[in-house]
Each structure stands twice: as C-alpha cells, then as structure tokens.
Symmetry: C2
Subunit: 220 residues, 2 copies
C-alpha cells in the first residue's frame, strides 16, 4: 500500500510536471507570453535599426528568432504594428518616468532632470532608432496619428514640468514650448549617434545632458 | 546722313537687344544658370519635404517648374544627386558662418552663438528637411559617405568652438563631444517641428535656443 501510494503520488507528480511543461499555469503562461512578445519586439527593433524598416520583413524577424512567420503574427498583426510596438516599448520608459515624478515633492527642475535621465536612457536603448524613425516610414494615416499623439503627450509633459519650474522658481523664465523642443531634440538625436560600444554609458550621457541644460555653457 | 546713322545705330541697338535676349553675356549666363539651378534645388527640397524622397520623382520636380525632365538633368545627374544638392544648400549656410567667425576676435562663446544662430536659420529654411533626412533615404554607399563627411565637418566645427571656449574661459568646462551632439541635436530637430507659419521667426527661435544653451534652465 505504501508503495502504491507512493506510485500514485509519483504518477500525480509526474503528470503535474508534464502538465506544467505542456500547459503552463495561467500566471506562467501570461509571463511566458509577455517574454516571447518582448523577444519579438526586441528582435524587430534591432533588425529595423540595422537594415532599415523598409528592408526588413516579418520573415527576417521570424528567421532571426528561429520561429515561423505565423508565430510572429500571433503577437502583431502586421509589420507596421511591429514598428509601433517598438516605438511604444521605448516610450514606455519615458511615460513611466512622468508617472513616477508626479508623486514626488522635488522641485520641477529636479523632476525634469529625472525625466531627462530616463529619456536619454530610452534613446540609447535598442528601441531608440524606432522611436525617432517611426514617423519617417510612410505609415498609414491611422498609425501616423497614433505615433504623433504619443509624441505629443511626451512633449506636453516636458512643457508642463518647465512651466511648473518657472512657477516654483527652480527654472529660469523661458519659452516652455521652444525649450521643450530643444530638450526633446537633443534627446532624440542620441538615437542617431549613440552606439552601445560608446565609451560612455547611457547614464553618463544622460548626466552630461542634464548638466548642460540645467547649468548652460556660460560659466556661473 | 544723320538719318542713316540713326538707322544704322538703331539696327545695331536692335541686334544687341536680340543678341542679349538670345545669347546672354557670359556674366548674365552664369548668373542665369545659377538662378535656374537654385530654382531646381529649391523646388526639389519642397517636394521632398511634402511628399517624401521616395514618393517624389524627377518628373514631379520638372512638372512643378513647367520644364522638361532633360532640363532637370542639365543641373543634376539623378535624384540622389538632387537630394545631395538640397542637403548641401542648407549646409552652406552653416559652413559660411564658421568661415565668418574664424576671422572674429570675439570669445568662443560668442562665435558659437553666431554659428548656432545661422544653424537654426538653416534648419527653418526650405532645406531643413533634406539636411536631417538625407541620411535616412537608402543612399548609395558613396553618397552616404559624402553626407556623413560633411555632417562630421559641422560636428567638429562645433566641438572646436566649445574646446576654444573652455580655454578662453567663456565656456564652462564640459565634455565637448557630448555637448556638440546636444547642440546639433536640438538644432537638427527644428526641421521636424518648425513650420514657416509658426508664430516665431527663425531668428526668434535661434535666440531662444542660444539663451537656453548659454544660460541653462537653473536661475542664475
């Protein structure tokens, strides 16, 4: 009997193991799906940056991951959607930074510096290229609108912090719109020149940018 | 006799007029060719910006000018060359600014401000789009190299002024390479957002940018 129990137990354990391998728990399944989805987007972002959007096919992305084309279509409906997801993955970092500083009681200048740091880091990431190049790829009208709307959200977030800074006295009186464009422009351009092989880390680039924008070039 | 002289004179005058109309003087011919060449480049720059490089044909440019396609080929050998000329027309403004400040005995900070002003103006010009987009258009290797070489010249010019500024004391000690990238990035980005219908003129945008980069956001 004890042996039987043991066998029964053992069979059950083994079934659970097999089940776990074949049908992951809902939590694991969600996590697994998220991980796979991220791998698809990351691989696409690399391919787009290296070969250009128009020279990259869904097939190329599938081949790089050693999966079939339908597997990719499981995560995105077309190539444009894939580019959009790359764009959004980079933007997410910046959006999260805005959310984080919302609760902070630091000065607006300090909050802006935090956002700038995360912005610079996003631009040095694998998604940087897609973030600045998405709009230049002859997107459909609907997709183009979505990209512009998200970009505009970031732009308005920066303007808002600058305006708050001129009110709390942490930022010199200035044209918030033009200043936000200058900051975003400098940040966005990082994606054009930064290579992960650069001698500076993303954080080091971010800190130099923040110092420049906060202190200016004229000695104090 | 007086009458005959008069007729002769009159005939001569008239021939000169006809000659002048049909065979312009070498000076006029050169000026005329330059004017026509500029019209071709300007029309192409507008078309590239409005429709995108890949969606614009030499035919489109010819049609816009109401001339034949061979007329365009009189000035450039192909569409890529046309884009390059647009790129170069914008860059010329910045190159000239560097030449101008070379002879000046102003501080490096003031010389940098002069270059930044002309840089911003170039980016708000009809050529701004081509200046930042040229490199993204799947250019041939040779053309890509030429574009990058010219961009690099501008980049090194800015770095040089920053370095000189840290030596003459007019610029705070900073990382010249990263600072030059930030300045150029902010400037280049103007081409993405500036519209000639904007409430600010090119010079007003330039002055706000210069103030930001020189004074910084932190109150002094």
């Amino acid at each position: 009997m004890p042996k039987r129990t043991h066998i029964a137990k053992s069979n059950k354990d083994s079934a659970i193991e097999i089940g776990a391998a074949l049908w992951a728990s809902p939590d694991t399944r969600t996590r697994d799906r998220e991980r796979k989805r991220y791998a698809v987007i990351l691989t696409a972002a690399r391919a787009f940056r290296e070969r250009g959007y128009h020279n990259t096919s869904i097939d190329d992305v599938a081949r790089a991951l050693n999966v079939t084309k339908p597997t990719i279509y499981h995560y995105v409906s077309n190539k444009e959607q894939l580019l959009f997801e790359c764009f959004r993955a980079g933007l997410k970092e910046i959006m999260e930074a805005f959310d984080e500083v919302k609760a902070s009681d630091a000065t607006a200048r300090q909050r802006l510096a935090t956002v700038m740091c995360r912005y610079a880091e996003a631009m040095t990431s694998e998604f940087g290229w897609c973030m600045v190049q998405a709009e230049n790829q002859d997107l459909s009208t609907g997709m183009s609108k979505k990209v512009r709307a998200l970009k505009s959200e970031i732009d308005h977030g920066i303007r808002q912090l600058i305006k708050e800074g001129t009110l709390d006295g942490s930022i010199r009186k200035c044209d918030a719109k033009i200043t936000a464009f200058a900051v975003a422009g400098a940040m966005n351009w990082i994606a054009y020149w930064y290579r992960s092989s650069d001698s500076l880390t993303a954080t080091e680039v971010a800190n130099r940018f923040i110092e420049l924008f906060l202190l200016g070039l004229q000695p104090r």
